[in-house]
Each structure stands twice: as C-alpha cells, then as structure tokens.
Symmetry: C2
Subunit: 221 residues, 2 copies
C-alpha cells in the first residue's frame, strides 16, 4: 500500500488585513533598502524581515522595483516644517527661522533612513529619485530662497543670489549630517551649539551691517 502523501498543514503566519501587511512590508523593505541599496537588497531578505513568504510579497507588489517606488512615493511630508517656520518668518525673526530649519535636519531628522534612501536612489538613478529629492530638499531650499529674497528687498540682507545663499545654508547642514551619518565623524559639540554656530556664521555673512549704526552709538556713548 503506497503511503498516501499526507499534505502537512501549511504554516499560516498571522493572516493580517491588507493594509497592515502592506505597512509591515514597506517598513521592513524601507530599512533594508536604506542600508543596502536597491541592488543590494534581495526579495528573500525583505520577505523574511517582514515575516512572510516571498510569494506573498509578490502578491502585494508586482515587482521589486514597484515596492521600491512605493516606498519613495510614501516618504514625502516635510510641510510640517514649513508651517512651523512660517510664523517666525512673518515676524522677521531671522535667528528663529534659520535655527528651526537647521534643528529639523540636525536634531530631529524624523526618519534616519531618509538620507541614505535619498542618496541611494539618486546614485542608482531611480526614476522617482527626482520627485523624492523635490519633496525632501527642494521645497525647503526654495522656501529659504524666497525668504532670503524678501529680506534682501527689505534691506536686512545684502545683495546676494538668493538661490546660492539658500543652498549655502542648506549645504552646511546637510553636509554636517552626511559626514556624521555616513563617515561616523563624531559630533564634537552638542546639537544646540552646532546649530547656533552655523546659524550665526550664516546670518553674519548675509546681513547688511546696519549694526554699524548701533556700534557707532555704542562707541560714542
């Protein structure tokens, strides 16, 4: 009598609803893509990290690239920062405007995977990397340029190309993170000190020296 091939019951993981699984996959994949890049991450690893089978992964996302695209598309919001800055901007509180922006990037940096994800997507030339850059950097960068332009017109800042000046400021901050996160160069100062130094350097560089008047007063007092 031939042994009937008794089909052993298949291990069923958890049976989560669709949106929960999707979120789980995206989170797992997100961190893997951030540390190893697109080519450096295998679908098997992703499935394992998400606690499911590879087959199920492909039921949710038709291709590995589609999953990657979904991740990039999801990581958009940066508008909360602009909203917070708006108030300070209305009061022309330069210190506060630039400190808020710098702190956001240096201290909070909501999602530590963002920078790596952004760099990888740009280097690997993903089709969505442009949009990703736009959402993550360019809006802030253009907002800052707009603010600088306004302050120039008001005579508070001296005549410079606002786009270049904005890029200079963002550059200081982003490079700081980059060096720190990618090359493990330690932060030898507290985040507050660091932010304060960058903001002071920048504002002293761009402000018209109206303070001259005050200095004169002080000198003659």
């Amino acid at each position: 009598m031939p042994a009937q091939p008794m089909p052993r019951p298949r291990a069923t993981a958890h049976r989560a609803p669709r949106h929960e699984r999707l979120a789980g996959i995206i989170e797992a994949a997100s961190s893997l893509f951030a540390s190893n890049g697109f080519k450096g991450t295998t679908t098997r690893e992703i499935a394992k990290a998400a606690g499911i089978s590879e087959a199920l992964l492909f039921k949710h996302f038709p291709t590995k690239r589609a999953l990657y695209a979904a991740i990039l598309a999801e990581k958009s919001p940066v508008s909360q920062l602009v909203a917070a800055v708006e108030e300070a901007a209305a009061k022309r509180d330069d210190e506060r405007v630039f400190t808020l922006i710098a702190s956001y990037r240096i201290k909070r940096m909501s999602d530590p995977t963002l920078l790596r994800l952004l760099l990888y997507s740009a280097l690997e030339g993903h089709e969505l990397s442009d949009m990703f850059f736009r959402n993550q950097h360019r809006t802030v960068y253009e907002y800052v340029a707009g603010y600088i332009q306004r302050r120039i017109k008001e005579g508070a800042f001296r005549e410079v190309d606002p786009l270049l000046a904005a890029r200079a400021f963002i550059g200081m901050i982003v490079y700081h993170r980059l060096v720190h996160e990618l090359f493990q160069v330690p932060m030898h100062r507290s985040p507050e000190d660091t932010v304060a130094t960058y903001v002071a350097l920048f504002l002293d560089g761009i402000r018209t020296k109206t303070s001259t008047i005050e200095n004169v007063r002080r000198l003659r007092l």
Copy 2:
C-alpha cells in the same frame, strides 16, 4: 571516420604587458563602479569594457572586491591643492585661500567619478571607504580648520569652533556639487560667480567686524 575535433585557434586579444592591462582594467572598472556601485556592476561588464575575457580579469584580481579595493586605494592625491593653498595662507590672503579651495571642488574636480565613488563606498560600507574619505575630504577639512584657528588667534576671525566653521565652508561647496551632479539641478550662475558668492558669504560671516572702525570713519567724514 570520426571528425577529429579540430581546435579552432583562439582569438588572442592584444597581449599587453601586465601594468598596461592593470591600468586598463582599473579605468574601465572605475567608471562602471562609479555609475552603478559595487553590487550594480558585474564582472562580465568590466571585462567587456576592458576588452578582455572574464577569466583574465580574475587572473589579475583574485576577487571583485579586491579590484574595488585597488581602485579606492589608488584614488588618493589631493595634496597638490594643499600645496597651492599654502602660499596664499602664508600671506594671510583669506580670499585667495578659500577661493582656491572652492574652485578646486567646483570647477576642476579632476575626476568626475570621485564623488560618486566616494558616496557609493560609504553607503555600501566598504572597508576602505574610511580611508578614501580621509584622503579626499578630511585632509582638506582639517587643513582649513587649522588655518581658521590661526586666523582666530590673530584676531582676524571671530571666536568660533574651527572644526565647525571649516565643515560649514566645505559643506557649502560639496553640497553644491552634490546637488548639481546627483540631482541635475543646473548651475544658474557661472562657476566664478558661484565661488565668489560662497567665499564672500563665508568670510563675511567669520571675520571680526574691524570694518566697524572704518565704517565709523566713513560716516563721520
């Protein structure tokens, strides 16, 4: 009569001496690694680009990683810049010191693959990426910090953390290239204008306002 398997003569490429082949391989691989990263580049592509067989590639480099390491190890020199700057530094010509450094990164950028290679190696966590970073950035960065510290002691620059100030300056420049090369944001100004703007911003930000005295004189004239 069984057809004797007549061994057709093997195509022999060129028979170059060792060092020539090595150089050819390194050049081909270098540009491929820079555009696609380590994982994104196949040994077959490299061999094809170098015009040789894969087997020969592995005669010269035992593994793909070894080839990659050889490339990173080779791309070192940055000392020429420091030498050129030294002269201006001796004369305390701040404008010239910082303009030279900025121009080097923004205009010349000897090897356009360098930035991509550096970022890829850091992201992919290659063991040599630290050394690579050290050779390419850290020396310049530490040199600048040293110069700033000297100028602070001389009273020409105001009291700031020299390391942070140096990083701020390098940050402006590197971010500019990054944005331009990785995200295709166009340079809307000539390289000269760009460099001049960054240098002016930075120097105005870090210099002590001895000009106050002069401004006072001017006001009372």
